[in-house]
């Protein structure tokens, strides 16, 4: 069979050029949205009523979604992108802020008020194998929203709507699929059926949570193409949740890069990809493996991994991994432990043991949010030895190429009453700030005039 993509591809490129104009109607406005999940904590903390703190899955997010726009929420797992998408549809309860859908704040809506709206707000889940009931045939599964919302008068109308939805998603002739069960379908076909179910009640907004990540390479492009077709034919607005920057680059008009519950960079896709501003965005882009060997480049990967959301770093959440972090990015005691562990990784065992014995309790260094740190020297060592050791480290780190950013955050270091006391610069949270001319918002101290280069 001859392939036809070249002309199709050209058509898509043209489609994309007809960008969503800035004066398009605003569909959803998200303001300071917060979704916090309480932790149970241990027995004692429950007894004293203090609780175990909270995971700030979504922590103060502002977004505007215009009609016909495709917004990409991109981030690693634990960044809060899925929670944000689900909260948009009322599937998670927001703990603060507002979501205005056509001007009405739906955060405070009860389940009963929410239900009629769900018709207009639909979701496509990541795993097509798990989002269809294995005991329901396709006719029942796809038509289910029609029954729930009471949208049809009789069986005839029901059948006609189901057939229409199936044909729209390419499951044609629909008669062949009506009586099939999910187990008879391939992954791509299941995802098509899920899309059919999502569009059958005539929605306005579709939140697609990693709709292609469980599918094979050769099928992914087909489902993305189908989503583009549906958007054009049915006048849909998409929120596309993904960790895959490559598909987001192709698919989205605007993109919001999330890290630990916050947006770190937000703007038109083209701008963000052409000139990424936030160090995290840069790192993400550099990490994508490139199948074309002629385009592959050597890259510097950020150290470490996404931190525990229950104990997020001070200041900018990305600072422990950031190669260009500044003094006020939120340095704290934990970062010293990470620094020491990185150093010891490259040492012979005996030297490591010697250096480690300088410290009485490494775990104490790992406590979060310590702005002032008192280090107890290990048995047989004095605080002067520890101070000397840390001073040497600081000199080495400041002279190294690239410079170790940790030391810029240490404002004082002295021996005091049998301990070495480290004081850190006061942490400041970076706020999203619009960079004029590019239309990109970025949350990073490098760009807010607070001592960036």
């Amino acid at each position: 069979m001859p392939t036809k993509p070249d002309t199709d591809a050209a058509a898509i490129v043209l489609d994309k050029e007809a960008e969503v104009s800035a004066d398009a109607e605003t569909l959803v406005e998200i303001e300071d949205l917060e979704v916090h999940f309480g932790l149970r904590g241990n027995f004692l903390s429950r007894l004293t009523g203090r609780g175990g703190g909270a995971v700030k899955a979504v922590d103060g997010i502002n977004l505007t979604l215009r009609k016909g726009e495709v917004l990409g929420l991109v981030g690693e797992s634990g960044s809060g992108k899925t929670t944000l998408g689900r909260t948009l549809l009322g599937l998670n309860a927001a703990t603060g802020g507002a979501i205005r859908y056509r001007g009405e704040d739906i955060v405070k809506y009860s389940e009963r008020q929410m239900r009629p709206l769900r018709r207009k707000l639909q979701m496509v889940f990541q795993d097509p194998h798990a989002s269809l009931n294995p005991a329901m045939d396709i006719r029942t599964a796809v038509g289910h929203p029609l029954i729930i919302h009471g949208l049809v008068k009789d069986d005839e109308e029901y059948e006609a709507k189901v057939v229409d939805a199936l044909e729209r998603v390419g499951l044609a002739p629909a008669e062949r699929y009506l009586t099939k069960f999910p187990s008879d379908l391939s992954g791509g076909q299941k995802q098509r059926a899920v899309l059919a179910r999502a569009i059958i009640a005539d929605p306005e907004l579709l939140v697609a949570d990693e709709p292609i990540s469980m599918l094979d390479m050769s099928v992914r492009a087909k489902i993305l193409q189908l989503m583009l077709d549906l958007k054009r034919d049915l006048d849909l607005t998409y929120v596309y949740v993904t960790h895959d920057l490559a598909s987001a680059k192709f698919f989205c008009d605007n993109i919001a890069i999330m890290y630990l519950g916050r947006i770190v960079e937000y703007g038109p896709t083209e701008e963000v990809f052409a000139d990424p501003k936030h160090p995290y965005t840069k790192a993400l882009l550099a990490a994508i493996p490139e199948p074309d060997p002629t385009k592959a480049v050597e890259r510097e990967l950020p150290r470490g991994e996404i931190p525990d959301a229950a104990r997020p770093p001070l200041g900018c959440s990305f600072h422990p991994r950031c190669p260009v972090a500044l003094a006020s990015c939120g340095w704290e005691a934990r970062d010293l432990r990470a620094l020491l562990e990185r150093r010891w990784l490259e040492m012979p065992v005996e030297e490591y043991a010697k250096e480690k014995s300088l410290f009485a309790d490494l775990v104490a260094l790992g406590e979060p949010e310590l702005n002032r740190l008192a280090i107890a020297p290990g048995r047989g060592h004095t605080e002067e030895e520890v101070l000397e050791y840390l001073r040497n480290l600081r000199e080495e780190g400041s002279a190294a190429q690239p410079r170790e950013p940790f030391w810029s955050g240490v404002v004082a270091m002295q021996a005091e009453g049998g301990h070495v006391v480290l004081e850190f610069e006061q942490a400041r949270d970076p706020r999203l700030r619009l960079l004029p001319e590019t239309g990109v918002q970025v949350a990073c101290h490098l760009y807010d005039g607070s001592g960036g280069e």
Binding site: M1, P2, G188, S218, A221, H243, P293, I306
Partner: protein
Amino acid sequence: MTTTTDAAAAATPAAGEAGEPVLSVRDMRVWYGTERGPVRAVDGVSFDVRPGETLGLVGESGCGKSTLGRGVLGLTPPGSAVDGEVLLRGTNLVEQSPKQLQKLRGPELGLIFQEPMTRLNPLMKISEQFEETLRTHEKGLSKQEIRERSLEALRGMGIPPSRYESYPHEFSGGMRQRIMIALALVLRPAFVVADEPTTALDVLVEAQIIKILADLRKNFDTALVLITHNLGIVAEACDRVAVMYAGHIVEQGDSREVFANPQHPYTKELLRSTISLSTTGLHYIPGSPPDLGNPPEGCRFHPRCPVAMRGCATAEPPEVQLRSGVRSTCWHQAIEVDPSLADELGTDGREPLAAVKEISVADEA
């Protein structure tokens, strides 16, 4: 696929490659018994892996790549049968008893699993997991030796020695996967299969692990088969690549060469349909992979192939070695290498295969 050309090509290693292979697979087949009859998940594949070499095994789900990886290690489930030769330094693993195979696992054969979150015993400290592994496979090591070996393996994977006494839950997903890799490597196996080691992980962590795997081949002499569906990973971390389709290896060779100049139509189409940062238009392969219980006749890719010829539908293509050292199983290259092979296609065999029936969209996905 036991044509003479195939055997001849397989027997002569590509020019310029040094070192005796650690593992030689010849005409290996794996069957599964199902209610609908036998399914040939792997159907006559041959390849070599040399010391310190990484071979990437790519293909869509259901093409038999995981089955091949398990089959090589003798880990296929009950109800399956393995045939052919899997030579590990001259020993045919297919003929070994389960007991003999179990002895080889660890010191000779290793496996890195897909899901790091579920493969470590949550009740054992990292140190205990290493002690157990080393005690089981290498008896007579002293406590001090065990500690040194474990710390060295962990350090190679970027796990700080200060975390040696921690429990698995204290580590993130990426660190757990690195601990899994260290656990497989601490026994210094000659040959390791890594089955989608980064699929459950994030982009940045994936890139870190790929870097570690790439360093691995520099520092150790471990031969590695890396099973993945991510072509970018293969391009970055593998010396050679084998592309699988419907139980066959359709193209194999130097990974830079294969990605720069893909020969087999399936490899070309797969590369084109991959969405990367430079993607400006969507492309996809029509149709879907065949049912392995009843594969198409001739070349198994012909129903989806944009350049299929009439003969492709009836005659199975031989594997031929091209000048670049790449081996491809496609009639187009076969005829280029040896024009006399064209006879096997029959009269008008080289006419383009007209799209007999339009593949409906629904069949595609």
